[in-house]
């Protein structure tokens, strides 16, 4: 159990925890960054309207629509949206650990990464597969959040924007996305906090984040409770303020909602 002597022993290895903290923060920050942009593209792909039908002339569109049936249905097939959906469903339906091992042991098996150390202690060749796996995974979850956010915006907003002559992209950029992001901020914050916690899984491939520090300390001191307490405190201090900071921005962005 916990003891003062145990903490004293563990404290000698506090440097490992500091390094673990830096590693966890950079891991999560990069995951959030890449995951969010991946999700944005996935969401736009899923909501896209790219199909054979669109590229026909208006007269052929009209004729095809009147006829209906299989040819019409097939012409509405959207390969881009289909592929994005397949991606999202696979990543949401399989365990994170499987994805992580797959990416580290299979995907990166043939890739020679430079073996230098980030900040002097983070092993680059372990860190990169970790970021890639986490980003690919959270991208799938964030995609669904963003998609729901875009779909929650009243169609009248798009109609108003388009009727003013804004292009589809300008409508997204200035009208739909700012409102969508505001609506989904709590869900995104939730996902960011989840990423900080889930990044601990990267210790299984030897990324030196906080759980890796726990394992090292345990090996050196034969103490497990005290390192875990320290890890718990660090994780809490990371996630709690994160959700508070985002709650602050949420309040600031809701200016247009109420007085």
């Amino acid at each position: 159990m916990l003891s003062a002597a145990g903490f004293a022993k563990t404290w000698k290895y506090i440097e490992l925890f500091k390094e673990g903290l830096v590693c966890t923060v950079s891991l999560s920050a990069l995951t959030v960054l890449f995951g969010f942009f991946l999700a944005l593209f996935l969401a736009v792909f899923r909501l896209s309207d790219i199909n054979v039908f669109r590229f026909l002339s208006r007269e052929s569109q009209w004729r095809l629509r009147e006829k209906g049936g299989f040819v019409y249905a097939a012409s509405r097939f959207n390969p881009v949206s289909f592929l994005a959906t397949v991606y999202v469903e696979i990543f949401r339906a399989t365990p994170m650990l499987v994805q992580l091992f797959f990416i580290y042991y299979v995907l990166f098996a043939g890739v020679e990464l430079p073996s230098f150390k980030l900040f002097g202690f983070i092993r680059f060749d372990r860190f990169v597969p970790g970021v890639v796996a986490l980003a690919l995974n959270s991208g799938a979850y964030l995609c669904e959040i963003i998609r729901a956010g875009i779909q929650s915006i009243d169609g009248g907003q798009t109609e108003a924007a388009r009727s003013l002559g804004l292009s589809q992209w300008q409508n997204m950029r200035f009208v739909v996305l700012p409102q969508a992001v505001k609506n989904i901020l709590p869900a995104i914050a939730n996902e960011f906090v989840t990423i900080i916690k889930e990044s601990s899984i990267c210790y299984t491939i030897g990324v030196q984040e906080i759980m890796y520090a726990v394992a090292s300390t345990k090996g050196a001191t034969y103490r497990i409770a005290e390192p875990l307490v320290i890890a718990t405190v660090i994780y809490f201090c990371l996630t709690f303020p994160t959700s508070k900071i985002i709650a602050y921005f949420e309040r600031r962005m809701s200016r247009g909602d109420k007085r």
Partner: protein, 258 residues
């Protein structure tokens, strides 16, 4: 009448759903002339809103043609004024057609000023301060000069609709489309919106108005269209439509609403 006065020519416009089982628009042909205040009336579900929304392709028709600025905007490519086949850029045509909606559709995350300057700045490349100057001038004209920095949520329905009208005017459109602009308003706010529309009409703006305000149709409109079941059943001056209706369905409709 010389054809060059025609600003929009609609020919045999159709909008069918479910492989033609539902006909929201069933062959509407009409010419809209510069300076016209054309009021479209009819029972709900008659296709009058679909007709209006088709004019700037918010609703994609499934047949027929709409000529605007010399081009058939329902097609992907059309002959321009010089007879060359060119790609139709619908964004370009929408800039010239202002639209006002039943539910205002102001952008809630922007101030009134930003609502108004967004399109001129982003689409036309107007300078921000120039656009703001113009917006303030227009706001003065509709009596809302002091609300430039308010958010839409802080305004009443009537104020929102007046803003929506001047937001569309910022693009200096050649024609304004109104889709039941007063239907979502409290009765005491209808007047202020109609007043702005009347002033526009007096200024010579070409307008197409879908409305249930028969008083407005009679007083301001110079042409009235009566639609039912996706078809244009009767058209004429307000006096012809309201005082000497020909079609039995128009008779029936007027007896219910007047």
């Amino acid at each position: 009448m010389a054809t060059r006065d025609n600003i929009i020519q609609v020919k045999d416009l159709k909008k069918h759903y479910n492989q033609g089982k539902i006909k929201a628009l069933d062959g509407v042909t009409v010419d809209i002339q510069r300076g016209d205040v054309m009021v479209v009336i009819g029972p709900s579900g008659s296709g009058k809103s679909t007709f209006l929304r088709s004019l700037n392709l918010l609703e994609e028709p499934t047949g027929g043609s709409i000529h605007f600025g010399g081009m058939d905007i329902t097609k992907k490519k059309s002959k321009d004024a010089n007879g060359n086949l060119v790609k139709v850029n619908i964004n370009l045509h929408r800039q010239k057609m202002g639209m006002v909606f039943q539910h205002f559709n102001l952008f809630p995350h922007m101030t009134i000023l930003d609502n108004m300057t967004l399109a001129p700045v982003q689409v036309k490349g107007m300078k921000k301060d120039e656009a703001e100057e113009k917006a303030k001038h227009l706001l003065e004209r509709v009596g809302l000069g002091d609300r430039a920095n308010a958010y839409p949520i802080q305004l009443s329905g009537g104020q929102k609709q007046r803003i929506a009208i001047v937001r569309a005017l910022m693009m200096e459109p050649e024609v304004m489309l109104f889709d039941e602009p007063t239907s979502a308003l409290d009765p005491e706010m209808v007047g202020e919106v109609l007043e702005v529309m009347k002033e526009l009409a007096r200024g010579g703006m070409t307008m197409v108005v879908v409305t249930h305000e028969m008083g407005f149709a009679r007083e301001v409109g110079n042409r009235v269209l009566f639609m039912d079941h996706g078809q244009l059943l009767e058209q004429g001056t307000p006096a012809e439509i309201f005082d000497h209706p020909q079609h039995p369905r128009l008779h029936d409709f007027l007896s219910k609403v007047l």
